[in-house]
Subunit: 359 residues, 4 copies
């Protein structure tokens, strides 16, 4: 039912070899859509691993309709790098490169116009061929890893990248065209991203199809599906990094199953989602600290803060001790904050949703 393999991705100076575990579950319905789910690309962002463990349990009980590929511990190099007890996960310790900026933006050049499901398969097949060819060349590790994972993800209609973020409320990134579908993950805070590529996995899935779909629309391609039928990439931010909770993983997995049911990948009936706050990517703002010192975040993550509310207070020692307030300049929903109470001037203090829509 579950096929397991390990894909080698890097040999190390000590002679050890790092690999990535891959679980492939054959769906019961060959015509159902397929999903690819990976976790922990940033090393320290580990809750997704517990979620994948939970999904393996659930699919062992109730096999999915469509094929599902699960890749936990997707970046074995990043998860092994320590600095103190913390995991130096977000970027390559040698180059500083963010691990989630190395994916490849395919340009879909297919010119034949068969029915949609055949067209989709043709495009995937071309993408796979290109990725395989690139993987034959000498690449820096970050790129080799990303393309290896991307090659596993090609052919999936739904690519779900499980991350965590600093200290944070659960939220997710969805392409604009999939906002309505994204609600089924049962995470009420959505960042809606336009058709712009910055190297992340979710974008590497959505952007090529989005551009292609826009082109097909101008061609008046008769088989054009509604945009919600396009392959979609999502990034789910499952709370703070360096934390894992088996109980929370049950809830997180239930949300993903709900989404997969909605799409026909998992069997069973999806629950209708509740209301969500959506924030356009350009309105998802970073507040840089104007105070250096020790900071306490006083705002509640995930809750609306009115203009003028104190979001944080920073302790400084001068002639006396004083707490400097950071005030909301506009109504916002704080989503995440600096992982440490120790902060220098000009560091990322908070990220907040502004100008949210509720749907």
């Amino acid at each position: 039912m579950v096929a397991f393999k390990r894909i080698p991705v890097r040999s190390l100076a000590s002679g050890a070899n790092l690999d990535v575990p891959v679980y492939t579950i054959r769906g019961s319905n060959p015509r159902a859509k397929r999903a690819y789910i990976q976790s922990s690309m940033h090393g320290s962002e580990v809750q997704g691993n517990a979620v994948i463990a939970r999904l393996l349990e659930l699919f062992a009980q109730t096999p999915p309709e469509g094929d599902v590929v699960l890749v936990p511990n997707a970046n074995p190099f990043a998860i092994n790098q320590k600095s103190g007890e913390y995991t130096l996960g977000r970027f390559d310790p040698t180059t500083g490169d963010n691990w989630n900026r190395n994916y490849w933006l395919a340009e879909i050049t297919e010119s034949s116009r068969p029915p949609w499901h055949k067209l989709k398969r043709k495009v995937w097949s071309a993408m796979s061929a290109t990725l395989r060819a690139r993987l034959q060349t000498d690449l820096p590790y970050g790129q080799k890893l990303a393309l290896t994972l991307q090659a596993l993800a090609v052919g999936a209609d739904y690519v779900i990248d499980l991350h965590c973020a600093n200290v944070s409320a659960r939220h997710l990134y969805t392409p604009e065209y999939a906002e309505q579908e994204a609600r089924y993950f049962q995470i009420p805070l959505l960042v809606s991203i336009p058709n712009m590529f910055s190297g992340a996995l979710d974008e590497s899935v959505s952007c090529p199809w989005w551009s292609f779909w826009e082109q097909l629309r101008t061609e008046a391609y008769p088989e054009l599906p509604p945009s919600r039928e396009l392959p979609q990439g999502f990034t789910l931010e499952l709370g703070g990094q360096e934390l894992i909770s088996r109980d929370d993983a049950k809830r997180d997995a239930a949300g993903i199953i709900n989404f997969l049911r909605r799409q026909g990948v998992a069997s069973g009936r999806a629950i209708r989602p509740g209301p969500v706050h959506i924030c356009a990517l350009q309105d998802y703002k970073t507040i840089y600290s104007t105070h250096a010192g020790q900071v306490e975040i006083t705002a509640s993550l995930g809750a609306m803060a009115k203009r003028g509310t104190q979001l944080a207070q920073t302790l400084q020692f001068g002639r006396t001790a004083s707490w400097q307030a950071t005030i909301a300049q506009e109504q916002c929903i704080p989503i995440l904050h600096h992982s440490s109470a120790v902060i220098h001037e000009g560091s990322e203090l908070l990220k907040v949703f502004t100008r949210t829509r509720k749907i």
Copy 2:
């Protein structure tokens, strides 16, 4: 009332100079005992800074009986070193040396035998002179900083070093001879340490006086005070590192004030402390992880766990995903755990009190 100065401790490659803020509050009663309180020697252990800010507020309202010296941000170099958003605070990033292992163990050689309060002053005066002389020599930064702080602490009857520890329940280190007094801090988990020096500030205060007192006892020195009258060093562990809470600081400061009242340094009447769990240093045990993976701590910090209880579970990915249990081999109270859910084999997973006494 409050005198403020900055003591320079290190110039940096950029040309910047780091200094330590020192607040000195003159007590209203010249015969009252004196206290020295510092915080954040390990950089990332910052809650003590909020506590000192709170103490400054309280002493501004109600001046102490005895002199009090307060030194927040005691290690400006450590607090400024970042690795990712975390603060690489526990040890010198250049040498690996734990910042709290550099203090000097005085040997008290005073041979005159005046009354106790004069003898004490003579000894302090000799200690000060030695420290001043050592500070004239070329020292590595860690040692220079430690001796600079130690020189500020000499002359205080109570030296309170405010730390934090990984992710942890509040607990404190007391010399055995001060166990009864230490209860007044209102922290119910105590590690009781013998007369052994490993380089920490609290030990550098307690050990010399302890040895000297033992010697005086053999001499049948007529003025010998009860051991609770000896100068005492304490290390308070105020919860997890990288966190600061102004509300918690009120409670933490109230406990310290209660202790200082008990000793006559602060004015007002101390509240009698509740029962505490005491664990001898040798029974404060580290559990090293025998599993590598992502770990969830399932034990409650600060609460008794019976033999056989699961303390933690570690996620591993093999042919299937599995959670490996770490089981309590004996009854214990978990005090702190690894700061990250990502753990290699042979890392410090938990520290636990075993064989506790309740007093």
Copy 3:
């Protein structure tokens, strides 16, 4: 003669404030061109500091014709961050961002067409105004620092950014249009870069003027100067990082003086440069290590290596010890290599000039 100031750029958690030293030397000829020279933006790349010290000596003896601004230790935060004895200089330890990717690409929108020297001044004035405005907003440190330095550089015809690179032969980056002038630095290995902006200081100087000049050319602007009269940005790579040599600094400074003489900024007559190897940016290739282990670079830096030559050998321990060769796939000039003999698969092993021109 030399005006000195310190510009504050960041306050730290400890309360310390970091600043950047700025030396401004008024030229004797108000109509002469001006130069801006900074060093050590990457912290660990320090030889430029010694070069600026030397230039200060030389200009004290013989004042320049044109104004010269010198900014050593340009990134006080980066130079202070240690990891072991090494300086973690290349990127922000918190975010991983390369410090030399934060500059601003001005778009020159000036529509009036006065004579060239007036036009130039108008444009600079607009750039300054924009930079000042941006610096009023809350910025992450990396960007604040870059814009602060860029604001100091605006108004200079020659902006020279002194870097070092891993372990390397001296080489420099020049905009294509200034290749002939760049030879006067007396560094025989040149990377020639097109009009493309990736965030570096040199590009932030050259690109806007280059684009503007192309536009003016289409307009048949009668005052159009030859491209060598345009403001120019250069990045000089003065050997390996973590090294400083006062003797080498004399030679490095002499080369810069020679360039400045050629441009009329320094007094005296420039020496005609010898032949140089020029490599287009696209032909400056990275060789990623296909072997993990301990690597010895056997190629000579700065010298032509024929196709088939062994460039490096990597030690691995299997059933026996073996050395794996890395062979030149095409004729090339090795310019720099990995700073450590310890290398993982997929790390940057060497960077080499291919398809060089000699002029």
Copy 4:
């Protein structure tokens, strides 16, 4: 001839397993003494790996008389940890513990007094048993690794630990009682260490035997060998870290072979060593930097510097640029210096031999 195995030492969070390669070469003469040689315990100190590779070649050509065990890459965790391109090798990145301070000091309690070669075997057998037992308990990785290696080393008469040091001249550590023998390594700079244990491998070999030998002497044990017959531990510092040279490895290996010939472990006749400088451990002094800035070491490593000589000069930027001299306070031989030109006040600038003897 050469038996090869891999000993597992740590599993990592990613699921990877690290192991240590062990080469065992059976000697041709069962009565000959035996040697154990390891390298790279500090990760970044890699030249010893090239030396072991060379020794494997040499022993393949000419088998040794006595058994030889060779363990390159002795600390696979340390060698894999990167910070920038550098290897964070010297200490555990999680705890700060120096990897070479975890060995076990055996106390020899054997009371029977058979002939020396039997007594030696009995003692080794007891040591082995104790080490095996300790390795059954849960240990922190650093200790598990050290005891695993120590267990491999027990039974060898000569234990040679190959290190490197910062930027340095080749030198070695010898127990006082083996000074004359140590000269045969053909490294002319010797640190002579007393019978004091600080946790290093060489001491863990020499100290127990040294103490035992002193005891046997008081007993007038009739079989007492000359001290040069005792098991001996040496630490060889083969130049700077992060560097590997196959040519230098030939010379380094030749020195080791010369020593092994002298002791009858390798076949062939040892060359008589030339004169060496010996420095007692207490006279091997560290000069801490009193200046912060960028430092150039002007002294030659390994060469005598007279009192008053400039050892280093440090660049600082104030109103003007200035170079601050560090002057030799006494005649000395500089042995190693800070790995980086970037230095803070109170960092280790240089280590120097003072009061050397020449033998």
